[in-house]
Symmetry: C2
Subunit: 204 residues, 2 copies
């Protein structure tokens, strides 16, 4: 009877500020989301706590989880594994909680295959507004700078194709507000509400 929670995948190009935005969202008191902590084989950095920043595992443990298909997505960067344990996500969704992942673009594409019903949010750098400014103030900018921006914008445009929403990270607070608005709006989608009505009516 319990309605399944939403899976929210926050992703975007590296360096865009995914971690900062995610931390800001979870530092806000009115946030009603659950964060799925990633797993890694890299050593904890100073101040990082097991079970809060990451689940720190050995390579053997991680590879065992890969084999047993216990990871929703995983990748190897610079000799270390990073991934998302599937059990926490699945249990949370089943109990009606909304779960957020914050992962790289490659991982998001893997999750999309397993959870096509997820909410895929692309965090974009403020390159579009910047580009607009540069074009509008043409003459004060070199053609080279404008062309560089154009190239970056084209690459972003291609990446965002697999996503449902694009949130510009012009200001961290604004980006957080938009992400939370997206979650509220998704809960109001007619199909979801209609399903709640139908479930209630079938109780009879």
């Amino acid at each position: 009877m319990k309605e399944r929670g939403l899976l929210i995948v926050l992703s975007g190009p590296s360096g865009v500020g995914k971690g900062t935005v995610r931390k800001e969202i979870f530092s806000q008191k009115d946030t009603n989301l659950y964060y799925s902590i990633s797993m890694t084989t890299r050593k904890p950095r100073e101040g990082e706590v097991d079970g809060i920043d990451y689940f720190f595992k050995s390579r053997e443990e991680f590879e065992d989880l890969i084999e047993r298909r216990k990871l929703l997505e995983w990748a190897e960067y610079v000799g270390n594994y990073y991934g998302t344990p599937i059990d926490y996500v699945e249990e949370s969704l089943q109990s009606g909680k909304d779960v957020m992942l914050e992962i790289e673009v490659q991982g998001a594409l893997q999750v999309r295959e397993a959870f096509p019903e997820g909410l895929f949010i692309f965090l974009a750098p403020p390159s579009l507004s910047e580009l607009k400014n540069r074009i509008q103030t043409r003459g004060t900018e070199t053609e080279e700078l404008i062309n560089n921006r154009m190239t970056v914008a084209k690459e972003e445009l291609e990446m965002m194709d697999a996503y449902d929403y694009v949130v510009e990270n012009d200001k961290v607070e604004l980006a957080c507000e938009r992400i939370k608005a997206i979650v509220v709006a998704e809960h109001c989608k007619r199909e979801r509400v209609a399903n709640r009505y139908k479930q209630m009516l079938e109780v009879e």
Copy 2:
């Protein structure tokens, strides 16, 4: 070059509180929407101002607008015409403004035909939560009361079929927040943002 605004149609069963919710939204300072004032042939009530509450017109003027297809939707209730002038809506959307209509269910269906790309929001009474409570506290409620609620919920379920979103009007402030969240989320939809990128890139 200017991106077209969103047309937001707030509707729902009569008596649900559409007017109250709409007034609350437009009384909030951070609201960035434009309200499309309706037109009517009924006499102004005490305190009502032409051009604020309604555009008050004669039957001849109204019928002339119907003939010239200058109304986005219209209907006759208890001997009076009510409708939405199309020019204000079209001009506002073209200049990039988000426009909100607050109209009856029949009118919303007419608008859906002319503007299928609009955002159709169904304001629902808190009957679902009520129904749930009544079922859960069964024994303290008569079967008749529960059955009445079931019938109402079924009718609502049918009505909401033509809408994109359903917002429960449990509390006016919450309903307003949800409606504003929906507008923010829609502006972050990938297709819309991707179109902005494409337009910028084609400037070259």
